[in-house]
Symmetry: C2
Subunit: 700 residues, 2 copies
Amino acid sequence: MTSVEGDGGDSTHLVEDSVEGDGGDSTQKRQGPGDKALGGVRGASSMASGWTKVSCPCCESDQVEPLVLVQLGAFVQEGTKKWLIKLIEASSKEGGAALLAHPGEDAGGDIIVVSAPRCTLLRATEELGLCKTHRTGDMAAFSCHDRDNFKDTDDLQVFLTLAERQYVVKYELEGLRAQRDLRIPGLSDRLTLQHRDGIWQKLQQAGVIVDVFPLHDQDKLKALRKAWYTSNQLAQPLDAVQAYFGGNVAFYFSFLDFYTWSLLPPAILGLALTYFSAGVQKEALESLSGSGQSSSDDEASLSVSGHMIQAVFSMLWSTVVMEMWKRRSSSLSYRWGSGHLAERFTEPRPGFHGQLGVNPVTGRVEPLFPDWQRQLRVTLGSLPVVVLFLGLVVLGMLGFYWGEAQAKGLHREWDSLLSQVLLYVPSITHIVYTNMLGNVYRHVALSLTEWENHREESVFQNHHTAKVLLFTFFNYFAVLFHIAFYKQDLPLLRKRLASLLIVTQLVNQVTEVVIPFLVDLLVSAPRRSEHDDDPQEDKLRNQGKLPAFPGLFAEYIELLVQFGYLSLFSCVYPLTAMLLLINNLTEIRSDAYKICNLFRKPFSAPVTGMGVWQTAFEILSFVSVISNCWLLLLSPQLREFCQEGGISGTNIVLLAVLLEHVLILIKMVLVFLIPDEPAWVRIQRQKIEFKSMLALREQL
Amino acid sequence: MTSVEGDGGDSTHLVEDSVEGDGGDSTQKRQGPGDKALGGVRGASSMASGWTKVSCPCCESDQVEPLVLVQLGAFVQEGTKKWLIKLIEASSKEGGAALLAHPGEDAGGDIIVVSAPRCTLLRATEELGLCKTHRTGDMAAFSCHDRDNFKDTDDLQVFLTLAERQYVVKYELEGLRAQRDLRIPGLSDRLTLQHRDGIWQKLQQAGVIVDVFPLHDQDKLKALRKAWYTSNQLAQPLDAVQAYFGGNVAFYFSFLDFYTWSLLPPAILGLALTYFSAGVQKEALESLSGSGQSSSDDEASLSVSGHMIQAVFSMLWSTVVMEMWKRRSSSLSYRWGSGHLAERFTEPRPGFHGQLGVNPVTGRVEPLFPDWQRQLRVTLGSLPVVVLFLGLVVLGMLGFYWGEAQAKGLHREWDSLLSQVLLYVPSITHIVYTNMLGNVYRHVALSLTEWENHREESVFQNHHTAKVLLFTFFNYFAVLFHIAFYKQDLPLLRKRLASLLIVTQLVNQVTEVVIPFLVDLLVSAPRRSEHDDDPQEDKLRNQGKLPAFPGLFAEYIELLVQFGYLSLFSCVYPLTAMLLLINNLTEIRSDAYKICNLFRKPFSAPVTGMGVWQTAFEILSFVSVISNCWLLLLSPQLREFCQEGGISGTNIVLLAVLLEHVLILIKMVLVFLIPDEPAWVRIQRQKIEFKSMLALREQL
């Protein structure tokens, strides 16, 4: 089912074959004496010299791997560029980033290629709190003092993944702070840096730096493509994905994988129920013989017990799946060394502003912003705005219904071609309205979250995600809830759900892959005409012509909405899981194709899991109990059944409420009983913590 | 309202006056040259010499404070006692406890008095993870290496509280492990120690050690008594309680204090509603003029709106109170230095057994017991047994109702004196049955939890408490729930609640204080006849004659049941809060009297809060929403009101369900929004964590 855990079958093999094996290859290349002309640098054939020098003897090597490309503004003068290179090169004591810079073949050009020397990489690994394989074979929080006891610290290309190395460059660049008030050479006096200003952010705001992106490694990418979606195996090479694209992307694909396979049980159950109930109905019809009209009415409906089974199963299934995913997530996190990230006392995020002061916890001088003020902004600013937008969604929906009724009325009166056309007006207006609202909201949500002025990047992301999520959820499900709970029209709900599942999934697949593919073909054509003997620099530049990776937001939302269809309404339409399963099997490949080919390589911070998305899925899974119990209550079959049994309406409601409470209790017990991490991960984590405690005791 | 936090008014003063000031006193005594004959030891006048020697020069002092008394079995020979003293005295490298021992005046007697030298106290402080005041004024995790930077490390009597010093002795004694296979001198060969055996536990099992208890310090106790319950102020001297009795006891009294004062708002609301609705009813009656019979029926009932207000208020109140208590609890925990206890990698609890092996986390040799086996025991052993007992409670209740009906039937038939007596048989049988069941269950719960074989003391406590709690909850509330939800008889519920509140509280107060007081007076008479010139040793011995402190279990249960009456059923009987408030104001004093006078001083481990009780209160607060919504639904006033308004029965139920869901949502939002610790505690905690992180980074 999965490719990472277990006895290291398929995937480990894959990794070695593709990425790590490839690393071995190029190590040989590097050492080959005949390659001198190419510089021997992995994938950077024509950039052998021209790199800035390293100060530390242990970092010296005759090959430098280009990691990140910095695109400068067209107006930037050579003096500014030189100053910037010097800054990148300078040691951290001098306020620099302690990285390696290359001005490009033509030193006057508008790019700087950046790489990282060994010492900087190791120091950053420790600062980020990454875990690496210790001599003993266990993972342990890396520390520079103890570096000799960690595996592969000689070969940084093995020690850190490509994604990690590139993230370290970004981390160091964005951490640059002015050590004193400073004028930047070649720029107007308007743009001076104050003490402790974030240099990189200022330069980006001023347009000196237009773009920063990590560079593809074509050999590795080729191997990854092959292992990921060209061949036919079911398992994804998750370790290789993590190594190449980083934790963020790898966790998304791991979840997609896990979730897709866990759709199997409900899909089979749904199929069985549909088949079985169809059989029962046929028999019933045959025994009644002749009254064929009722069959068209109930065609997709199920028996009461089928309904019940489907509902109860899907409610418990969603909890078990999320709990199992937590376990898998924690073992992946341990495996990828991101279980003990030192996120807590990091520098404030770039956009954070406030009065300069001393951080009471760390004692560092940095901008401070009082908590109560932020809380006030969230409560009195953001919350009302979000509620307003949610209101607008509801308003739009009501407007649509009103318009539809009006149009139908007119059509009945006039019955002309014009009125026929008029019938489509409400739908079209509603679609346009919804899209516009969505676009406006996206901007509003971002600005609001910026305005809330969160100190930590992760908190910022959480607040932003929560805002967008709430809106999207409303936007997608308002109509369905309206049909289910207000109109109480189950057949309509069933039809709507089926059409949503089939149509929107198809549309999504097309817009997500086909359109970017066409754009890529037409707009980014130059890259297509690349030849092997083109200068290295041009190849790097060409990567910048691809559109930036839009992030995984849309992908996660899509999964969440799917999960919503399934857990909230599945008892109405039992084939949901089957349709989603088919959709996701292609989705995995198309998403993989997309991220490999159609966009620039994204930066990816090491992460412990899905973050706020985990919570979103869990909340949905609890809401599903309420929704399903209500839908059961509404089902005409149950009503008939109860009327036959002589149970009063009030008592049915009470039974449904009881069922709901019991199911929620069972779900909570399940959440409590299933440990969030497998025993072996727990022991390893405690080992790391125990070592920390011992070290601390020695130290203090 | 409270005595600890705030601008250090009352209570800080109190502490200095009573306990710390007293410490100052005796320091003077110690240094007074004329006191040489008494040995100058605080409260241990006749035990000046005879203590074992310390090996470390910094620990030497000419006064030793007797902390703990070890009572040996009558059959113990002098050789065994000498061996034990040597063990207590030996350094930890030699497998000893590194404490000080005194064989008593008559060296052949059956007691050993134990004290602790400076170095052992400091080391244990670090091992336990206690926080102490740093030079900078903040609290910081204490470490021996850094000892000079902490305040008061010269004077251990100020640095550690009496309760902490005594706990350290217990901790060291119970941590004694045999370093190799060993025969104990003077005991039969049957009793030999294996490598890594817990010596103390073995000796207790063999009856060599009969009793271990901490000794009272009469001067301090006198001062504490005065500040706590003799004088008339409302605030409790919580800091002094913490210093003398330790964290466990102090947290109980802090919660009692906090909870009692937070009863004020519902008490006032309840009074107002009762008064107001009585007025309204009077008016209504007067306007109807004459139909006085209906008044007796509804005498204590409220108007619909009053009901609603009371119910909604009490549901939200319970959440707010528990959240505010969490904040207070965390600030108390910081204040008392127990915020960062190193509980996680402690040695297994005494009763823990299993195959000897290497702990995968710490690498220590210790008994191991597989998790899955424990889980199996919990699921297949304990759970069914607990459910069985809950079933027995229900069975008892049903039997009672059946018996009552039978007795009434007989009485109607016979109508004689005999049948009159028969009427009481079911009640009495039920009471006897319930009591017996409770007693049996208490033993069963303890043995089951022992059998589950938990490694950590805290986990053991949690499992045990959870078991007892579930049963007690059932036992107390089954009848009330039965009346409310099955019989749906609100007037009966109201009567039952009122009688429970008034009668059981009175009975509790009496049994809790008066009976132990009488026992104390009659049985422990010798202590009463104590004179100032009695030998010190006799005084110490006399303390052993008091009964052991039964723990705070019963007290917490009492509070929880109170809280249950209030939050689950308060909308039925609005005066509940007022009655509880009055009860608790006396409860504080009587509990304080009890713990100071009627029992031995208990050992008290440093704790971070109320532990599992916190969870119990929170769960109750959520269950209360369901209960209150149901009671609202049942109230005849609401039914009438709805019938007048023409709302159907089903719709009322749906409205109640909606209200329930909304209230639970609001409660969850409240829990989420109110931070669990005040900002200043958070900053201080993060400071400690940041320091740890820095230290770790340096170290590794």
